[in-house]
């Protein structure tokens, strides 16, 4: 892969950077939230920001114009992702879920009406999907999910429970995996639906996460009746579509730009901070730790560029996406744990405290970091995928 950018691409990066410098709301920088959906205020900032991006056509940059995109290349998307990640914009996971995972799946498997109904408003930043995947007894073994979707006249009746559903209390729609044939083998009886979150019978209960935020929810479906046209793709072929959507989910190509920025902040901190009589940047152990993080981040960047490179050449990333996912999640752990080591006693200090470093960014990210190796499939599940799909090792 030759990763050189064209003149136009370099200009596009500059355009994005200039825009972000001018347009990120000052209040967002003040809040310094890493959980964008926590409060009404931060969510409102996020929604407003997404609409702003939508107006520029940047929310769904690669989509065709008929669906509200600009028909731009995957490399432009990569550039945009990198700049958005590095700038800590108000955009959060809701945009990845909606724009990068759910809608592309709808585009692949949905009807013309479905595409027209969901894609353009999503590209304008007006609607978001939450993910109805995990259940209390279906985590890594997602195919054993039990939420039922029973065909009934001109619709389906949904009954069951989802869990770990991020921003379900904010989203307009749920992208739901449900069992439509209880008698079929477990992978062959699942279908995918779009469910309006205002449909009667849905209740959402908050689950406060380990960082103290309301991000997760439990979602209960009690005889929820949805029209038949909300089925996406073929009935009972949902597992296949789910696998496609999950591959989209595992390809978050902008992330290394964010890590690079955190490392640069740490380098600056170490060059300015003395402990025990010398600058931290003169400590060989710390030098080595930061160098290792920079190296790993560069490896991740190249693994991500492969994804973009494949997309550019019309190939569908598969186990390659799992490689970036597992490497990225484990690097987040190393990044913030190493950050904590470098901050020393200051690592304990949270946002708002006197002597807190970077307004508690490292400390908060450290608390959140383990979740990265859980959501979207644990690192163990990713390695299974790499081995089975990527290397052709036998499943039994």
């Amino acid at each position: 892969m030759d990763l050189k950018f064209t003149k136009e691409q370099i200009e596009f990066r500059k355009e994005v950077r200039d825009f972000l410098e001018k347009e990120i709301p000052p209040r967002w920088k003040e809040l310094g939230y890493i959980a964008w959906e926590e409060t009404d205020e931060s969510w409102a900032i996020t929604r407003g920001w997404n609409k702003k991006l939508g107006k520029k056509g940047w929310l769904a940059l690669t989509w065709p114009k008929e669906f509200g995109g600009l028909g731009r290349s995957h490399v432009d998307q990569l550039i945009l992702d990198e700049e958005l990640s590095a700038a800590n914009t108000p955009t959060g996971i809701e945009t990845n879920v909606t724009i990068a995972w759910v809608c592309p799946t709808i585009r692949l498997f949905g009807t013309e009406e479905q595409k027209q109904k969901y894609l353009p408003p999503a590209a304008r930043g007006e609607i978001n999907f939450c993910l109805g995947y995990s259940e209390p007894n279906a985590g890594s073994d997602l195919a054993s999910l039990q939420t039922a979707a029973i065909e009934d006249g001109d619709g389906f009746i949904i009954n069951g429970q989802k869990v770990w559903t991020s921003y379900a209390h904010r989203a307009e729609y749920c992208w739901l995996a449900a069992r439509s044939d209880p008698d079929a083998p477990k992978h062959k009886g699942i279908s995918m639906f779009v469910v309006d979150m205002k449909t009667p019978g849905i209740s959402v209960r908050p689950l406060i996460n380990a960082a103290g935020f309301h991000s997760f929810n439990e979602v209960f479906f009690d005889n929820v009746r949805i029209p038949k046209e909300n089925l996406v793709g073929e009935k009972n072929r949902g597992w296949y579509q789910l696998a496609v959507a999950l591959d989209f989910e595992r390809s978050n190509v902008g992330r290394p730009a964010e890590f690079k920025k955190v490392i640069a902040q740490l380098v600056t901190y170490c060059k300015e901070t003395k402990r025990n009589g010398r600058l931290l940047s003169d400590d060989p152990t710390i030098r080595k730790k930061l160098a290792k993080l920079a190296l790993d981040t560069e490896i991740l960047r190249l693994l991500c560029y492969r994804i973009t490179w494949m997309q550019t050449h019309g190939e569908k990333p598969n186990y390659e996406a799992s490689i970036t996912k597992v490497f990225s999640s484990e690097l987040i752990d190393r990044l913030y744990n190493t950050g904590m080591e470098i901050l020393g006693p200051h690592a304990q200090l949270d946002r708002g405290s006197k002597w807190a470093v970077f307004n508690g960014l490292i400390t908060r990210s450290f608390i959140v970091a383990p979740s990265m190796a859980m959501g979207g499939g644990t690192s163990e599940v990713q390695r299974n995928i790499i081995a089975l799909r990527g290397l052709g090792l036998p499943s039994k």
Binding site: D2, P284, K288, L290, A294, R306, I323, V326, R383, A387
Partner: protein, 377 residues
Amino acid sequence: MDKEFTKEQNILKASARDFLKKECPTEIMRDMRHNEKGYPDSLWNQMASLGWLGIVIPEQYDGLGGNFIDLAILLESMGEFCCPGPFFSTVVLGGQTIIKAGTEQQKMEILPKISSGEMILTLAVNEYESWWDFDSIAVSAKAEGKEFILNGSKLFVENAHIADYIICVARTGDKNELGKGLTLFLVDPQNPNIKSTKLETLSWDKQYEVIFDNVCVSADSIIGEVGEANDILNHLLDYAAVAKSAEMLGGIQKAFKMSVAYAKERKQFDKPIGSFQAIQHHCANMLIDVDGARFIIYQAARKLAAGEPAGMESAMAKAWVSDASYRVTRLGHQIHSAISFTDEHDMHLYYRNAKTGEIAFGNSDYHLERIAQHLGM
């Protein structure tokens, strides 16, 4: 974003692999344990006639005029087949030094003979108290009229026993001056005041201690300017580190493929061991290491091929592949288990070469420090 290789480079890769598969079975590396010279002549002569020895030598000096990517492709294949011999010391170290810093006369004398396989070179840099740290080089060269007198001891000099020239890095300036004062000398190893002692090595490659005891060399034998060798040495370090990384990549890729194939075929508890998640995760980790190595090495290779500064990229490539090579070959042993801990199995050859490669041109500790400097610390 373009593909990794051009069509010609893909052909070069395929033909290199075909040739080595036929002519360089791993038995050759095993035989080098008890072979004084370090390689079979027939293999060297064939490599010369294929044009490999002149791969990066400009056409006006009878080379193929290829770039660093072409070189990396050959080295990757050589790593895959554990190919022994003086290719690295001659083509990569010696050849690049002459191309980069030699006089026209030196180029005309030496480069065509490298291409034809008639001349073997090596580079003497490291010492007992100096390991790719140019400021600590102690071997001295004192000017006496139009001549220089070399004194001191070099270590880990590859192929000193068969080299036509040793390129010796010696201090001509004040030892307290940092970042300068070094000069490169072309030295004839047959000089009676040079004593070479063979070192017994992990990979049975031929490395020597070379002692210079009042060795007199003429000013004609200087490569580049007196006292100005630091820049060329820094370039050579990047160049050689990435070249060695490419060779190591070929080795770990092979060790990885052998292990996945074995995991599919070896049965225990009535199942292929590759169906166990413990083994699957080892294989997944190996793939991540190998893919990461490929991308980061060719990123640096592309910079070098374009003649751009590649300090950070080469440090990253060598730091990554140094650690990844150990991890991959160690897991290769683990997946094969007892069968790979036999002399006749190839895994220990890859395990050995991984460590030898890791040590060459600085291990990950060394290159992580270079990365730290590039980060601005």
